[in-house]
Amino acid sequence: MSGRTITEKIIAAHSAEGAAVAGGIVTLRPDVVLLNDVSGPLAFEQFDAMGATRPFDPARIVLVADHFAPAPDITAAGAIAMTRDFARRHGIAHFYEPGRGGIEHTLLAELGMVGHGGIVFGADSHTCTAGAFNALGIGFGSTDLAGALALGQLWMRVPESIRVELTGTPGPYVTGKDVILELIRRISSDGAADASLEFGGPGLDALPMDARMAIANMAVEAGADTCVFEGDAQSGADMARRGVPAAPAVTADAGATYRQRIAIDLGALSPLVAKPPSPAAGVPVEALRGQKVDQVYVGNCSNGTMTDLRQVAELLRGRQVAPGVRMVVVPATQKIWRQALAEGLLDVFAEAGAAVSPPTCGACFGGHMGILAAGETAIATTNRNYRGRMGHPESQVFLANAWVATAAAIAGEIVPPGEVAAMPGGAA
């Protein structure tokens, strides 16, 4: 028998059949089922329509009000109320609202509910963020997840895998965001369709967990079903820190079969910016020098971590957001928000003229808390820059890492972050 990929091994370990080969269909039992205030209510309706009366295991279900939360209007409040009610009716303790929670994918990791070899089913396309933890996060629609809520299992086709070999050490201002923008630029928006992206190689040493989350988060922007990182000492230590029971990292066999192999030298990367309307339209930041911005948005499930907020603060300290530019900073979870407060970062942001939002998916998906008007341009650390994604169909969004976004906030236009860092005004 030829070797197996990480994806095949994790799926096999969670399958009723006990085996999994790419292309085959298995009955898959996730460790955790995750829903939010948009996908949840539709799933709850389907759950009832299926004749289900109770969920498979309330302790393994996580419900998060994050998209339209805090509720911007009565309809959204109704959707959150439905989610709250479902949690109450079925004794689901893991229900999170503003003040206790945050953005679902970041929160799930923080709660210690994902670690080596785990599987998360989420009714959200960015469930693949769990890949950072040597786990599989798989996104589904609401009807599928209604079935998973009821039965704790779903049929699924085992994806083929694409191996992404990372080497080298990233240079200044190069982050996880640039790694994934580079990958999507190379293989395009459907390059990983029907596949799992498997990230590994010696370059992992230079990628902290937050950077891995930023990479895993956008696997779906390459069309991937899911993704997974190799586990290592960093991911093991991270599990211990979050209270996840220790488990060995799942590794690929030497003879594993991959659909494709891609090599990325982290040392050869420079900060990238994805031009609207596609996450695959990445270009070096220099190519967009002088592009004016009206709004700068730092946050979301890919880049709203402490790593990102510290980068923002490093550039903003002693400097000001340019006149005429709005900057919105959205810590991804309540815990991150408090940590940023404790480190004095929120004050740095406020002092510089940036607005700090409570944790929420907010404007990333055009929900609320920073919607764009016609003709406006934003640069954001988010994951999608589709037409009208953040507001008016005639607005546009550039995607970049937190260094690049903050540099644009200070300059009022896109510039290489190193140039802003070299400008006078920064606190030593």
């Binding site: 996908s39 329509a49 009807t143 599928d144 079903d225 998906f365 055009g366």
Partner: protein, 201 residues
């Protein structure tokens, strides 16, 4: 749960010459906070179909007769990518779209479509392009999609084979979801279970 079986879809086709159609385009996020309602058809491609005053944009394909009555969209590559929102499928169906033809689909959209009886038809890009040109050149053009035979019949009578995952196809043909189809085998399941639990000597 049972629903209308999907066996043969025959109807007016609209050329939709856009690649990378994300589900944000199919239904903008601001409509997602609403429960599923009768208005979903008007949310379909909302910001492409209507201007700020709510007036139809005359150049948008579904605003042009006869495509307004389209039951089948002939798109391009990567239809339904991005957000997992199942509402994208609801909006297409509420408008009257019963099948979408494209080279590739977003994986989650593909699953959502099959779950709800919207037929995603995968064909090679050259075929998709030729079909789109054909339905654009001589409207109103009709396509016939036979799910039983997994065959699409072009306006010129040419037949193109496509494939749908076998189990999903069975569910669509019988008008059942997975649970319903499984329950239809209940007598056999019970027989099997009884046999399985009978101790053998």
């Amino acid at each position: 749960m049972s629903r209308q079986p999907v066996t043969r879809i025959e109807g007016l086709a609209a050329p939709f010459d856009v690649s990378n159609v994300d589900t944000d385009q199919i239904i903008p996020a601001r409509f997602l906070r609403r429960p599923r309602d009768t208005q979903y058809g008007t949310y379909l491609f909302h910001d492409l179909r209507f201007d700020e005053a709510g007036q139809e944009r005359p150049d948008f394909i579904l605003n042009r007769p006869p495509f307004r009555q389209a039951a089948i969209l002939v798109a391009a590559r990567a239809f339904g990518v991005g957000s997992s929102r199942e509402a994208a499928v609801y909006a297409l169906q509420a408008y009257g779209i019963r099948a979408v033809v494209a080279e590739t689909f977003g994986d989650i959209f593909f699953g959502n479509a099959l779950k709800n009886g919207l037929l995603p038809v995968r064909l090679p890009l050259s075929t998709v392009n030729a079909l789109r040109d054909a339905v654009a050149a001589s409207p109103p053009a009709r396509l016939a999609i036979d799910l039983e035979r997994e065959e699409l019949v072009a306006p010129d009578g040419a037949k193109h084979a496509f494939a749908v995952p076998a189990f999903a196809r069975e569910c669509l043909l019988q008008g059942q979801d997975e649970i319903g189809l499984t329950l239809s085998f209940l007598p056999q399941i019970e027989q099997f279970e009884a046999r399985r639990h009978t101790p053998t000597v």
